[in-house]
């Protein structure tokens, strides 16, 4: 009885007042997030205003704030993400298919599953240290360059990878992997079993069922997860900073600085993964650490605006994909 008295007040008016207050507090806390978002975006756009211009997108970095640009970061991030996606998407989807469709519910499967969810919680900087040791230094193996003659161009693979695009992409791929696996698993799980049973009943093999029926049906969900994972990778600074990507760089990976470069030297494409690079968030971090106020406050804010625009575009496309397919597929 005494306990009830402590938690329960019989005065209805008092209870309504407390209830009103409680609701008000919760409402305020939630709407505060909208205010934060507005303030953060407002402050950044305001500070970025003097430095935002189309030139900012097409110039390389400079020691002068008025001529600094983000091209090296934009192209660097582009290549970095392309290779990250190329490495992590097939492995991630493959792992999800194995876990959802093939694995028997034994201790090893549970171990893999537990391992994936733990990996998702490992701080990104620890992945950076892994990448530095395993890909940049390769545990200190002696330096050498392997040249692969492809006929039209030579691929020069430095070993260890050093501070190259491929080292960064491998690191980010490992970082994204748990997110992609978990999202793909959820997407596969939401495909109704009747679809699988129908395909198997018609004589399809297991892999035919999965590759032609289950996977296409799960694709929108998987794609959404992949895009979200990649947009997280795009904003990741810590692992790339730890890898020691170059901070002042006035060329793009593979020295493909423009479309005309690509037209003139398409052979350079093969060396893109093994070239030095910088990435958008890293450039922002370096500008924040610059000496001059103009760099710290305005150039870095302009960089942030560019980065946020790219992120919004990526997230927007994820939402579009989700909506488009949700309308089309009805079970």
């Amino acid at each position: 009885m005494s306990q009830t008295r402590e938690t329960f007040n019989a005065n209805l008016a008092w209870r309504h007042r407390t209830g009103w207050l409680f609701a008000a507090v919760c409402r305020m806390a939630t709407w505060a997030s909208v205010v934060f978002l507005a303030v953060i975006l407002g402050v950044i756009v305001m500070r970025a205003w003097p430095r935002l211009s189309p030139d900012f997108l097409t110039r390389f970095d400079s020691y002068k704030p008025e001529s600094a640009g983000m091209l090296a970061g934009i192209l660097g991030s582009f290549w970095l993400l392309s290779f990250t996606a190329a490495i992590c998407v097939p492995i991630g989807i493959g792992a999800a298919i194995y876990l959802e469709e093939y694995a028997r519910p034994n201790w090893f499967t549970r171990f893999i599953q537990l391992n994936i969810s733990n990996l998702a919680g490992v701080p990104s900087i620890v992945f950076g240290i892994l990448g530095f040791t395993a890909f940049v230094r390769m545990f200190g193996i002696p330096r050498q360059t392997i040249v692969l003659g492809l006929g039209f161009a030579d691929v020069r693979i430095p070993l260890p990878f050093g501070r190259s695009v491929i080292a960064g992409a491998l690191t980010l791929a490992l970082l994204c992997l748990p997110v992609v696996i978990i999202a793909s698993q959820e997407a596969l799980r939401s495909v109704p079993a009747s679809l699988r049973h129908a395909a198997l009943a018609l004589g399809a093999t297991k892999w035919q069922t999965i590759s032609r029926q289950v996977l296409p049906a799960a694709m929108p969900g998987i794609l959404t997860g992949v895009i979200l994972a990649l947009s997280r990778a795009l904003g990741e600074t810590a692992p790339i900073a730890v890898l020691g990507a170059a901070f002042f760089i006035t060329f793009a990976p593979g020295r493909l600085n423009s479309f005309s470069d690509l037209g003139q030297h398409p052979d350079r494409l093969v060396n893109v993964p093994f070239d030095q690079f910088t990435a958008m968030p890293l450039q922002i971090y370096n500008w924040v650490n610059e000496q001059s106020r103009d760099f710290q406050q305005h150039v870095s804010a302009a960089g942030i605006v560019v980065l946020l625009v790219v992120l919004v575009l990526m997230n927007g496309s994820a939402i579009l994909i989700r909506q488009h397919f949700q309308r089309k597929i009805r079970w």
Binding site: F8, L12, R15, H16, G19, F22, A23, C26, R27, A29, T30, A32, S33, I40, I44, I91, I93, G94, A95, I97, P105, F111, I112, S117, N118, G121, P123, I125, V126, G128, I129, L130, F132, A134, R137, L188, R189, S190, A193, R196, L200, G203, T205, K206, W207, L228, L234, G235, E236, A238, A241, V242, P281, I284, V288, Q297, L308, L311, V312, N315
Partner: protein, 333 residues
């Protein structure tokens, strides 16, 4: 929906029926299927290999002893590591390896972040699951998703160039009369708090929504107000899930790097004053790695020792959180 999910998770028959007239073709299919299966298993194994290599890399430089290779803890005693009060690996002739200042800095920012992010996140979760109209949800959910998606460098920028000069300094220096460093733990903690808040909100909202509505209805039937139902029935019955969400968010705050590296500075000191410049474990790693630290030196190895600490702390918190979640789920099925 649940039934369908349960059905699909049972493995499909591995063997396909073999007809005698199609023998050749099916044996081809069999090898093909086997290769696929092995490839997919390999993909699943990548995550295990990743974890194993993280553990190996961290242990190799910090504890594993080989002939010709002395690890970090072979050069610095474990007792010194945990009790010394100075962290100065870069000062020749004055090297001290006491991780306390770094842990203290990490806890200071994490506590501040928790004090802001956890209650706000929980309040948002309650509002979203119990009070909010569909229209309000349609604005709030994307906003929270956007907040969660903003890269952490941006939060660092916001803390260093907006919170500290525009809010913290005027308030604490001019109104309250404290002295405030240009880099301080408070600004970093606040932005990390804002960063983990969407995460707390969405994870807690999921557990609040998972509370069976029979509990709500029973509450209303007994004459409880909406406040009584949400604060005294729903939240307590989802408590373990909420605690799990809190732990996950705090572990994220501990591992957060860029926001604190930018906003909190890089002076490791043993202080509980959030207005001072501090260094967290993560910002030590990123600051040290930026410079070319010669491989094999004790400063280089100290990176791995700190990373190992960080890894163990976040791993423990994640593991406990998952354990709580599993127990909680069982309770409601």
């Amino acid at each position: 929906m649940n039934a369908a999910a349960a059905e699909t998770s049972t493995p499909l028959p591995a063997e396909t029926p073999r007809g005698s007239s199609l023998k050749r073709q099916f044996s081809w299919n069999g090898t093909y299927e086997k290769i696929i299966r092995v490839l997919l298993f390999g993909c699943a194994l990548v995550s295990v290999i990743t974890t194993a290599s993280i553990v190996f890399v961290l242990l190799y430089e910090s504890v594993l002893w080989f002939p010709g290779h002395t690890p970090f803890f072979g050069k610095v005693s474990v007792v010194e590591f945990f009790t010394a009060t100075q962290w100065t690996p870069q000062f020749e002739g004055n090297k001290h390896f006491g991780i306390m200042p770094l842990i203290c800095g990490t806890l200071l920012t994490t506590m501040t972040a928790g004090a802001i992010g956890l209650p706000m996140g929980l309040a948002s979760a309650v509002y979203l699951s119990e009070y909010a109209s569909p229209q309000a949800r349609s604005i709030l959910k994307p906003t929270l998703e956007l907040l969660a998606g903003i890269p952490t460098v941006v939060y660092g920028y916001f803390g260093l160039f907006f919170l500290t000069p525009v809010l913290i300094k005027p308030l604490f220096v001019n109104v309250l009369g404290f002295s405030v460093d240009g880099f301080n733990a408070l600004s970093g903690g606040i932005v990390v708090g804002l960063m983990i808040m969407p995460m707390v909100a969405s994870l807690s909202e999921d557990v609040l929504r998972a509370v069976p509505s029979s509990l709500r209805e029973a509450g209303y039937a007994l004459g409880a107000t909406k406040y009584d139902v949400s604060a005294k029935i729903i939240v307590p019955s989802a408590l373990s899930g909420i605690i799990a969400a809190f732990l996950l968010a705090l572990s994220r705050a501990i591992g957060e790097t860029m926001a604190v590296a930018i906003a909190c500075g890089n002076r490791p000191q043993l202080t509980l004053n959030p207005l001072r410049q501090i260094q967290t474990m993560t910002s030590f790693i990123v600051n040290m790695m930026k410079g070319d630290t010669p491989v094999g030196t004790i400063e280089y190895q100290s990176l791995y020792a700190v990373a190992l600490m960080l890894f163990l702390m976040t791993l423990t918190m994640n593991y406990v959180s998952q354990w709580i979640l599993r127990r909680y789920r069982e309770a409601y099925q």
